[in-house]
Symmetry: C2
Subunit: 506 residues, 2 copies
């Protein structure tokens, strides 16, 4: 009785930081444009040739200590993924369906002969209402901060255009921001080039906040890692739980070599560009290792969740990549921008000490909007949002990797034009997956492809002609979802009307 | 007995943030290049004509609620002042005696016929040892953060060159940094000009971190104020004491009008440039008012110290100012860069609720290096530093504005060349003040001027010829201080030897 009284007194006196001490720290380690095969860690059941090309020992270590997800999905390009992560919304609903230009009110869509301009949310996400061209939502870090978390963003943000609140991570509820702004890639990875901040030559992609590394040999990945570790010193010291969103600029273009790691790949016979790309990957992996080492050194590794993820598939346009186009994620088809697996399937690993079992693999598919409710569940936060959250918590999968649900539909919606010439699965597509089945709808001609993803990872065998009932059922399910979300279809120039929903065509 | 046991238990369990809850928040509101007369608040016993030119109701309000200092000093230019504030060291000792170029290893000194290059700390201050061209010191915010404070920097930093740790406020122990980097002024105050961040046109002075205001009508002063208030939300909510270093870029050049306030000064008949300057001042004053309003609204005004200060005298070069040169701080002589009062005497106001008495004035002189021990005393912090601290706490003055010490010597040391042509009190000077007496030593010719500052605020009456004993005594005292601090004298080109100390010349 006396002890509980003391507990009560202490509880009343304690600030939020103290009450929250038992909640785990959460680190989202988000990589940019990293493909499912850009790692020495086989993300599925078995290894493929590209796993031999890359060297990512720390991803292997994290997977050995936690759980890897063989079927984790994002959207085909970066901003939609990042907005889904921040809001828990599906891209079809939040309407930030393409990457946002850092310049306000400028659509990144390419012009098209068949379709007119789409009225998507070209300015991205906004944590305050009333900003034209944005989706208004309550962001994840704001909810975590309100619940007592110390929230840190380091690296690429790319949630909104300059001149809108979404351009600045501080408006999303981050306590600390380093190097995040409206741009989607770095002008330069090189400290010797001031990450682009050369007077008169700086573009909007010049990386902010890293002045102490200017003129030095510090590669951007390393600078961000050092700043991330510095930023969490305060909550670690104060025993306040933290949320670290370490969103690396790697491995997005410009493909500049990280010379700490380059030689290995030149020695292996890769051409210069692909060697540089591989060195970007390894530099990112080293950062992961440094974070893990730090947690161990500070004795907080047992209280810290690490979630490794990429924001879309690996770039498979060649050039700038070398080799045959759209082979860079093999056995997955195509790459960034595409509705094929190469564009949306991501390397994902989660370590939640005390919950995930070491060295396990989950085969249940999950999607980027699931991060929002999952992280809030990990943090034990009760919350309210202005948006409707589409994601589902995957805590049950973390507790039991054999959790399975083959009825859940996943939806991708891309009524935009990413590149001037359509590529495989690229531009004007809508896609649904349910269980083993995946259907891709082409808004240009109404064509539908159907794949059995579990039997046909490469998506080489279109089963639509043989399975008209399945196509019809998936068309109806996809269309229902899109209508419910008030999703946009691109306007046809010749009629002025929107392209039909999947169930409105044969 | 039972209660103290509970207290003990609670004390053991409490994180730093909680133990510190009774400590005051401290806000240093630092203005750039603001002169002693750039305000409607008379900083001494009586008003002067320039007080009628400016409109700063919030400075008046702060003075009415706290204590103004009629004889507060900084160094003649910005970086030395800022480094003294961060380190507690006199500029003669820290050797960052001129403003630092944002470009590493580049001296901002002008070339000279008489003197060769001086080996001063051209890269500024460094919180880590071993960085060439820097003074290594334990910075104030680091000590406050170590003691449990939430530390925020917003605005101009300018402590060190790009490529050195001193370029980044995060390395000084700030938990949050907004818009602080290696540069000493903004490329633009205008949101419509992205504060300089125009692709291909950005200079090193482009202001970082404010992307959400790009393309909007938000003046830089307002953007920084909004960000400062946002940054302290977390500690206010968590009841963690905070240290806010709000270092405005105003009123440094470029003199761009703050159009929210411009018309008042045009209506008063000021020329366009001086009207713009006055609008910069009023915009800064509005920021001060907004901060004060916020503290009141959050009911933390009684727990929050506000220290208002400028970093050097008002710019008196004309052009860019209009009017006769060196009249812009009248009745004070000269301005920024000068050893005369116009270059070093600053508007300073301190409100420490429960300590300072409302509407009081302290006449005891204080100096910028005193801020370091004073703020640590306010915060009740026990600390160790790698540097020897030269400043003295002025807490006794805050407790009793009539505290007086006419024996303390103050020293200014400027063995550099700020502008290409020497101005009044500008370039190659060393100065001492003790009691009413002030002596200025000219390194070029050994000439010494002597003023009775209390009788002759305008420094119009050189008393050196009539008081050789006083000149001799002050020369000895100044030289002793400089030798003890291992202060630098500029090397004479014709002999290769350093210019003599004051007591080495007649």
């Amino acid at each position: 009785m006396k002890l509980s009284f003391i507990g009560l007194i202490a509880g009343l006196l304690l600030p939020v930081t103290m009450q929250a001490q038992q909640r785990p720290n959460v680190i989202v380690f988000l990589v940019d444009d990293m493909g499912w095969m850009d790692t020495s860690l086989p993300m599925g059941d078995s290894a493929y040739p590209l796993n031999k090309r890359y060297y990512t020992p720390n991803m292997e270590r994290l997977a050995a200590e936690g759980m890897k997800f063989s079927q984790a999905y994002a959207t085909p390009v970066c901003t939609p993924t990042r907005v889904s992560l921040m809001t828990g919304m599906n891209a079809a609903r939040h309407r930030v369906t393409n990457w946002t230009s850092p310049v306000r009110d400028r659509s990144s869509d390419n012009p098209d002969d068949q379709f007119g301009p789409l009225d998507w949310n070209i300015n991205g996400c906004s944590p305050v209402p009333g900003v034209p061209g944005t989706v208004y939502a309550t962001p994840l870090p704001q909810l975590l901060r309100d619940a007592g978390y110390f929230t840190v963003h380091v690296g690429k943000a790319h949630w909104g255009a300059q001149g809108t609140p979404g351009a600045n991570p501080y408006n999303f509820g981050f306590t600390v921001n380093v190097a995040g702004h409206a741009a989607g890639h770095p002008q330069s990875y090189l400290g010797t080039e001031n990450y682009g901040n050369i007077p008169g030559k700086a573009s909007v992609q010049a990386v902010p906040d890293l002045q102490q590394y200017h003129g030095t040999d510090t590669f951007l990945t390393e600078a961000l890692t050092l700043e991330a570790l510095k930023s969490i010193e305060t909550p670690v010291k104060n025993k306040q739980p933290f949320f670290l969103h370490l969103a690396h600029y790697t491995v997005h273009v410009p493909i500049q070599g990280d010379k700490r790691f380059l030689q290995r790949y030149l020695d292996a016979g890769l051409d210069t560009l692909e060697a540089k790309y591989a060195s970007l990957v390894e530099g990112m992996d080293k950062s992961l290792g440094d974070i893990m080492d730090y947690l161990k050194k500070k004795n907080i590794d047992r209280q810290t969740v690490i979630i490794f993820m990429s924001d879309n598939g690996g770039l498979s346009l060649a050039p700038p990549r070398t080799g045959a186009p759209h082979t860079q994620n093999a056995p997955l088809k195509a790459g960034k921008g595409s509705m094929y697996e190469g564009g949306i399937r991501e390397p994902m690993i989660v370590k939640w000490p005390g919950v995930t079992k070491a060295g396990t693999m989950a085969k249940q598919y999950v999607m980027i909007e699931d991060f929002f409710p999952t992280i809030l569940a990990m943090a034990g936060v009760r919350y309210k949002t202005v948006q409707q959250v589409d994601g589902r918590s995957f805590v049950n999968i973390l507790q039991n990797p054999r959790s399975a649900d083959s009825t859940r539909p996943l939806v991708w919606h891309y009524p935009n034009k990413w590149v001037p010439r359509d590529g495989p699965g690229i531009n004007y597509k809508s896609t649904i997956r349910q269980g083993r089945w995946k259907m891709i709808y082409n808004m240009r001609d109404g064509k539908k492809e159907l794949y059995d993803i579990e039997a046909d990872l490469r998506e080489s065998n279109d089963l639509s002609a043989a399975n008209p009932a399945k196509v019809k059922a998936l068309s109806a399910l996809l269309s229902d979802r899109l209508r419910e979300w008030n999703a946009q279809m691109p306007p046809l120039k010749n009629t002025g009307k929107a392209a039909p929903f999947p169930d409105e065509t044969e």
